[in-house]
């Protein structure tokens, strides 16, 4: 007999399950302002510690501190706050519309609004975004009308994608928002290719892409990092680590052994780990990476550390796999509350103005919903013409689809 011990198979487990009291003392939250901002042309191998720290700007009192403070003007902050509040009001309304059977499906971004909204301000209008299905905040912050978004969710006659996609699968070339796929991670190498094309053409535009931490397990994540590194593509690759991929905690995606930002190190890319609930930190990191990309220094991987407050989608039931109050003890707070506190600390905002803005956003969404529902919902009303089902499969409709369109009565 060989004197060897038996192996055993390791299966990662989250710390808390339903019925247990969640607390996050194991999450290392450094004080805001303690991580130094290197110049944006720093060599990737000299800044690997950024992949294991947490870039934070807003402290508990709402002050912006440290070298990552982007020192942006107050007007932009108020716009950012408005975009996040409109996103939340929109999410709440659409969630309810799904529960009422008016739309088939919905996915909220509650608690993660900063990971999208801040980018709209850090990027140029003609930069291209390759979003996942939780970046509605980006479209809203870029000024895309809530009316169009809602018509998409309702698949009605005014739906810009003609009723072909699930709710939330928006597409808007005009707003630099690539058509969303329901399959995970496919947009990551696509964003790299778009950025390579900008470099090929000698333009100055950059790309940005978003996936969740769960999707880093897909091959496409690794293809993207590899291509981005090899060709120094001007792209910002974001991993929104919201802790949960449906029911799987981030350990199932490989978060036990290393941070997601640290995936960059092996590819020779800078990896930044950022407080995703801190609008200013997200903005500052995006700005750093964008500066670097525009200077032809290539790609950056950014882990946006946050928490998925709601279920994965309206089809999910998070009470089955995580403690109901887990989100309440999340140590990084709420992005809207934190930006509000900052603006108040600056003397540029008040609780009264905040409440008024919130009412305005809720009203705007409600009013828009009335207009949209007058056109059509899942339950009835005006839909795109039936024959459109056979269009856009190819540029021209070939004979067999013309025949099928006739058979279908379109």
């Amino acid at each position: 007999m060989r004197n060897r011990s038996s192996l055993s198979l390791h299966i990662p487990q989250p710390k808390y399950r339903p019925g247990e009291k969640a607390e996050f003392s194991y999450v290392n939250v450094p004080k805001a302002g303690t991580v130094e901002r290197p110049p944006s042309d720093a060599k990737a191998q000299n800044i690997t510690s950024l992949a294991y720290s947490l870039i934070r700007v807003l402290d508990d009192e709402g002050n912006a501190v440290g070298s990552w403070d982007p020192k942006v003007n107050v007007e932009m902050l108020r716009k950012g706050l408005r975009a996040m509040m409109l996103t939340r009001a929109y999410d709440d309304r659409m969630y309810r519309a799904q529960r009422q059977g008016k739309i088939s499906f919905y996915m909220k971004s509650t608690g993660e609004e900063a990971t999208s909204a801040a980018y709209a301000f850090a990027l140029e209008r003609d930069d291209m975004c390759f979003p996942s299905y939780r970046q509605q905040g980006l479209l809203i912050a870029r000024g895309y009308p809530v009316f169009e978004m809602m018509c998409q969710c309702y698949s009605n006659a005014r739906d810009p994608v003609k009723g072909r996609q699930l709710p939330i699968m928006y597409s808007s070339r005009e707003n630099g928002f690539f058509t969303i796929s329901g399959n995970l991670g496919t947009q990551f190498p696509q964003a790299v290719g778009w950025a390579m094309a900008s470099a090929y053409k000698g333009d100055d535009r950059i790309a940005a892409a978003w996936i969740g931490e769960g999707t880093t397990a897909e091959g496409d994540f690794h293809h993207a990092l590899n291509f981005a590194s090899i060709y120094r593509a001007p792209v910002i690759l974001n991993v929104v680590n919201n802790q949960w991929a449906i029911s799987s905690f981030q350990g199932i995606a490989g978060g036990e052994q290393a941070t997601f930002a640290a995936r960059a190190i092996g590819y020779g890319l800078p990896g930044l780990r950022v407080d995703g609930n801190d609008f200013l930190a997200v903005y500052a990191a995006a700005q750093w990476a964008s500066e670097r990309a525009r200077a032809n220094q290539g790609a950056t991987l950014i882990e946006l550390y946050t928490y998925r407050v709601e279920g994965h989608s309206t089809s999910d039931d998070p009470g089955r796999y995580r403690p109901a109050d887990e989100g309440k003890s999340w140590p990084l707070g709420d992005p809207i509350e934190r930006l509000k506190r900052h603006l108040i600390a600056l003397g540029e905002w008040s609780e009264a103005r905040h409440d008024a803005l919130n009412t305005e956003m809720v009203e705007l969404v409600r009013e828009t919903q009335r207009e949209v529902e007058a056109i059509g919902t899942m339950e009835g009303g005006a839909r795109p013409p039936l024959g459109t089902m056979f269009e856009d499969v190819f540029k021209e409709v070939p004979w067999h689809l013309r025949r099928q369109r006739e058979q279908a009565g379109g």
Binding site: I11, S104, M169, G214, G254, R320, Q404
Partner: protein, 337 residues
């Protein structure tokens, strides 16, 4: 015998096999503690332990590649791909590896893997939660492809799949998980317990792979279907007033040619229906087989009813789905020709 829906029957098959064979293990996205997004693995981790039924990362190529490695060691992995629409990142591992390992090693290695995956439309899932990709597997040499249409068969076929020494693609028609949906989306679906095939024995039993079932005997026309379309075809036969012989293929490859030929020789007419897109669908293969084997018995052109050749359109779900009206029209055309 307890009455079960499809989900409970599949769960019961997995439970029986975990109990019976320590080499059987289950993994896939969300299948562990949560029990899967459709609840098929509900309670199995708790009962059999975390190493017998566990969550995998979101990486279908990894899931299937790892299953191959495990099966080479002697395990019998049963992996879940959350939706058939998500299987494509794992396609290379399926087509170039899993399907051919026995052949390329001349039997030196073999990979007894079962890939379970929900497929099909009818749930307003849009183009990434509704596809029927069975023809992408039936076209590949070395893959057994199975599709059950009721709880009793689902359990027996899944156990046969797990016990098979060859890899099996086990496609679960998600629209009939909770009841035998017949395409009449305007009416509520009767739950499974009212259906005779919801009676599912406890413990271990098998339904042989490669054997079709004649679910309705008839003289006028043979109807070849599988999955949800079995129930659509039965409703269509009733509504068309046609004495149809409805054959539930159950296993697509190897297909039960004997049952098909015997029926078409009797009826002289044939309708084929599936949810998948028409062009190069499995119906095309069935059509070719029927004309090769039964040409001199055919009295009418073979009819095919299928999904249109477009991606699955969200809002036009019921214009796209080959429902009972389209199937009934095809039966009438076949009978009246």
């Amino acid at each position: 015998m307890p009455a079960m829906n499809m989900i409970q029957a599949l769960n019961s098959a997995l439970d029986a096999m975990l109990e019976r064979d320590p080499n059987v293990l289950i993994f896939g996205e969300d299948v562990g503690y949560f029990g899967g997004v459709f609840r098929v693995t509900d309670g199995l981790q708790k009962k059999h332990g975390v190493t017998r039924c566990f969550d995998s990362p979101i990486g279908e190529a990894g899931i299937i590649g790892a299953a191959i490695g495990m099966s080479v060691y002697g395990l019998r992995p049963v992996v879940e791909i959350q939706f058939a629409d998500y299987i494509y990142p794992g396609y290379d591992q399926i087509v170039s590896e899993m399907a051919r390992i026995r052949y390329r090693s001349a039997g030196d290695f073999f990979v007894p893997i079962t890939i379970r995956t929900p497929y099909g439309g009818g749930i307003f899932g849009g183009q990434t939660h509704s596809q029927s990709p069975e023809a992408l597997f039936t076209h590949v040499a070395g893959l057994t492809t199975v599709i059950p249409s009721n709880p009793h068969d689902a359990k027996g076929l899944l156990i046969s799949a797990i016990e098979s020494d060859d890899p099996v693609i086990f496609l679960e028609p998600k629209r009939i998980y909770n009841g035998p949906f017949d395409g009449h989306h305007e009416k509520p679906v009767e739950p499974w317990p009212k259906h005779p095939m919801s009676e599912v024995p406890e413990g271990h039993y098998t339904i042989p792979l490669g054997k079709a079932a004649v679910v309705r005997e008839g003289a006028d026309v043979t109807v070849l279907v599988y999955g949800t379309m079995v129930h659509v075809a039965l409703a269509a036969a009733k509504e068309a007033g046609v004495d149809a012989e409805v054959i539930d293929l159950r296993t697509l490859i190897p297909v039960d040619i004997g049952t098909i030929v015997a029926s078409v020789e009797k009826t002289g007419r044939c309708v084929i229906a599936h949810e998948a897109t028409l062009t190069s669908g499995f119906g095309a293969e069935l059509c070719a087989l029927v004309q090769e084997h039964c040409f001199y018995h055919l009295e009418a052109p073979i009819e095919r009813v299928a999904g249109w050749d477009t991606p699955y359109p969200h809002i036009f779900e019921w214009d796209y789905f080959p429902g009972p009206k389209r199937v009934a029209d095809a039966m009438r055309r076949a009978v009246e020709a």
